[in-house]
């Protein structure tokens, strides 16, 4: 009960409820939009490797606008709840009149970077399913994501996700810069997890929600010394006993 109480109390603070509302709206859009969402639909009828072949052989059958739009909605749905502390930082660092400007600049830049990651993640997904075959794509992506989450590189990226930058007199630029770098670092921490939903044919939206939940559990863990470890999200989800292994200790100059 203690853990749950601490969790819900933290959930209710700061901008987090609003960020969840934005995220929820994006999920609704994915489910309710007439086409059902291009990525969702395409994942419902075509595999990613099919799509890769299609792009190479008959690209006019693929609507890039629809793909880009749906990826954008997916990013808003999954990635928005991850940035509450840094959004708070931007909002706290400006005058009340500029708070909306800071918010819009931060979120805009953050979403934009994530949106652009499509150019990296989508080819990777195609490459992966081409190598593994369509049936093995999902377990392969999951395995890659798990191994990466346990790695020192992922911890380094996770730590960087918490770093605040200067928000000075140029509120819009500085907030956008914070959003941009937070987005880049967030991609570095999460990218293999975005391959996973692209490798399934059915249950796409549900899988997205599960992964987004996992990434949230991952992100709220405090910074730690990089090292091989059980992915920190497991400690969030199952308590400290899942968190036994791994290195410790801050290395600092004196």
């Amino acid at each position: 009960m203690g853990r749950f109480a601490a969790f819900t109390a933290q959930l209710s603070s700061s901008t987090l409820p609003y960020l969840f509302a934005l995220s929820g709206a994006a999920y609704l859009a994915l489910i309710l939009l007439p086409q059902g969402g291009a990525i969702a639909e395409l994942c419902g009828t075509l595999t990613v490797s099919d799509l890769g072949r299609l792009l190479l052989t008959a690209p006019w059958l693929v609507s890039p606008g629809q793909l880009a739009f749906d990826w954008g909605v997916m990013v808003v749905a999954m990635m928005t709840p991850l940035i509450a502390p840094l959004l708070s930082h931007a909002r706290r660092s400006v005058t009340a009149e500029r708070r909306w400007a800071a918010t819009i600049a931060f979120l805009g830049a953050y979403w934009a970077v994530w949106w652009a990651s499509f150019l990296m993640i989508f080819p990777l997904a195609i490459a992966l399913t081409t190598v593994t075959g369509d049936d093995a794509g999902f377990p392969a992506a999951l395995l890659i994501a798990m191994i990466y989450s346990a790695s020192p590189a992922a911890q380094r990226a996770r730590n960087a996700c918490h770093v605040r930058l200067r928000i000075g007199a140029h509120v819009f630029q500085d907030s956008a810069r914070q959003g941009f770098f937070t987005g880049l670092r967030c991609i570095a921490a999460c990218w293999p997890w975005m391959l996973v939903p692209l490798t399934v044919v059915t249950g796409h939206t549900a899988l997205m929600a599960v992964i987004a939940f996992y990434l949230f559990a991952d992100r709220i863990t405090p910074p730690a010394q990089p090292g091989w470890q059980i992915p920190p999200a497991f400690e969030t989800l199952f308590g400290p006993t899942a968190w036994r292994a791994g290195s410790f200790g801050a290395k600092t100059a004196r």
Partner: protein, 481 residues
């Protein structure tokens, strides 16, 4: 059984029974291996551990046994945020219980309690001297004294020195609100947790807590600094515990005043998530605690012999503090009115940074001194030294800081700087922020006429240590209730 914590100076020492048993217990705990939850090194590592540094200084033997729960239990210390006071209260409770258990088992007093160093007691002319029990080479008729087995700086008494030209004070005790609005000073620090990152010091934590750490631990540059100078070594020094006991008592005293508002919102009471506060008990079992358990009347609330001497708080009338929840965290009644032009590097040579004051500065600052307080924020300070000291002088734009009186200069102390700078560690890489009240300075500068800018002149005193960087300097105002 009630453990009543007593002023070292009132124990009838030197070497009162309480202090003799403290020394013996420290000696015993130092013989225990690193993986024992009741070992001296284990308990100190709960606060913070620089593993390689401890090996280098032979604090740990080569290849020590590492407890499997190391990642969960070590490096927990909560600094620069609103969990500073409750976390350290739980920490002291665990420490006292472990020592008390061993002391009772050896035939010592069953109600042994951690004593405190009452350094701000103006009734005691020697209050600021490091108590002699922590300096004597031997005790108990010739045994090596474990209480003096610590690396410290040259200072034997607390107070301003050339490299840290500022004195300890009870100023924090007059702050009325526990949780500060953004950019302003509160008693207990800004909100921190997974949705908010504070990283600015509260009033008590800033002065006297940080100042005592740094005054006792520095300045041995460039040889290793004293343990108290570095959060990853500090709790190895037996002096740490009697210092923190006094810090905790200041909070206990502060909470007796009906004029003060103690934080009790759910995110504070329930503590952080997912990493929760965890302490060992005398049997070596690990237990989670939450901040609400540290409030008066709860399980972890301590008992002190006295809450008046050296606390700045008059004897309690009745009723105790108001228990209130913080204002909405992102807004609050505080307002940003000035921000500097760029981030800067601070060395021993003075560097200037200009702050542009926002619209209608004469209006906002004209009212200063009455209902408003003005706060200087030095934010995102990073550096490779374990702790750092910076002098900030405020002047009108273009004015010579040499002409400004000494009252125009504030000395800021950043305890745990390297920790907060490292992106490789558990404290993140955003640096530290310090907030000071500059109402008087601002009032005086404004009285000279309309000012749409201010200059801040920064330098490390006495040529300084390793260079520091400052992300931002800003000024906030707050309407006082």
């Amino acid at each position: 059984m009630t453990r009543t914590r007593t002023d070292i100076a009132k124990l009838g020492g030197p070497w009162s029974e309480t202090m003799v048993w403290y020394a013996r217990a420290v000696g015993e705990l130092r013989t225990r291996a690193f993986d024992q939850p009741t070992a001296w090194t284990y308990l100190a590592a709960i606060h913070g551990v620089d593993f390689q540094g401890w090996l280098n200084q032979n604090i740990l033997p080569p290849n020590p046994p590492i407890p499997q729960e190391a990642r969960r239990i070590f490096n927990q210390c909560q600094h620069a945020g609103w969990f500073f006071l409750p976390w350290h209260r739980g920490y002291l409770h665990a420490f006292e219980a472990i020592l008390g258990d061993w002391i009772a088992s050896q035939g010592g007093p069953g109600d042994w309690a951690l004593p405190y160093w009452n350094y701000l007691n103006t009734n005691d002319p020697n209050a600021r001297d490091i108590p002699s029990e922590f300096v004597d080479a031997t005790f108990d008729g010739g045994t090596t004294n474990p209480l003096s087995q610590a690396t410290r700086g040259p200072a034997t008494t607390l107070g301003p020195q050339a490299w840290i030209p500022v004195d300890i004070s009870l100023n924090a005790q007059t702050e009325t609100i526990y949780t500060s609005d953004p950019g302003t000073l509160g008693y207990g620090g800004p909100i921190s947790g997974f949705a908010q990152q504070g990283n600015a010091f509260g009033g008590n934590e800033s002065d006297p807590h940080n100042l005592v750490h740094v005054m006792v631990g520095g300045d041995n540059s460039p040889s290793p600094q004293g343990w108290m100078f570095d959060p990853n070594f500090a709790a190895l020094d037996p002096l740490f515990w009697v210092h923190h006991c006094n810090i905790d008592r200041l909070w206990a005293a502060w909470m007796t005043s009906a004029a003060h508002s103690q934080e009790t919102s759910r995110p504070w009471r329930n503590g952080p998530f997912p990493r929760q506060f965890t302490m060992p008990d005398a049997n070596g079992n690990l237990n989670v605690f939450i901040p609400s358990e540290t409030l008066p009347g709860e399980a972890l609330a301590p008992t002190y012999d006295d809450l008046v001497d050296g606390t700045g708080i008059p004897p309690a009338a009745s009723g105790g503090p108001a228990m209130v929840s913080a204002a909405p965290p992102t807004a609050g009644p505080s307002r940003l009115i000035g921000v500097n032009d760029q981030s800067l590097t601070v060395t021993g040579t003075q560097v200037r940074s200009r702050l542009a004051m926002s619209a209608a500065p004469t209006q906002t600052l004209g009212a200063v001194g009455g209902q408003q307080r003005v706060f200087l924020n030095v934010e995102g300070v990073k550096g490779q030294s374990a702790s750092g000291v910076v002098n900030v002088t405020l002047t009108a734009p273009g004015a010579d800081p040499g002409d400004a009186g000494p009252e125009a200069t504030k000395t800021l102390v950043f305890f745990g700087l390297a920790n907060a700078t490292s992106v490789e560690g558990p404290h993140g890489g955003s640096g530290l922020s310090q907030i000071v009240d500059i109402t008087e300075i601002a009032t005086r500068l404004m009285s000279d006429g309309q000012v749409d800018a201010l200059d801040a002149h920064l330098a490390q005193p006495e040529g300084g240590g390793a260079e520091l960087t400052v992300d931002r300097i800003s000024i906030y105002i707050r309407e006082e209730p």
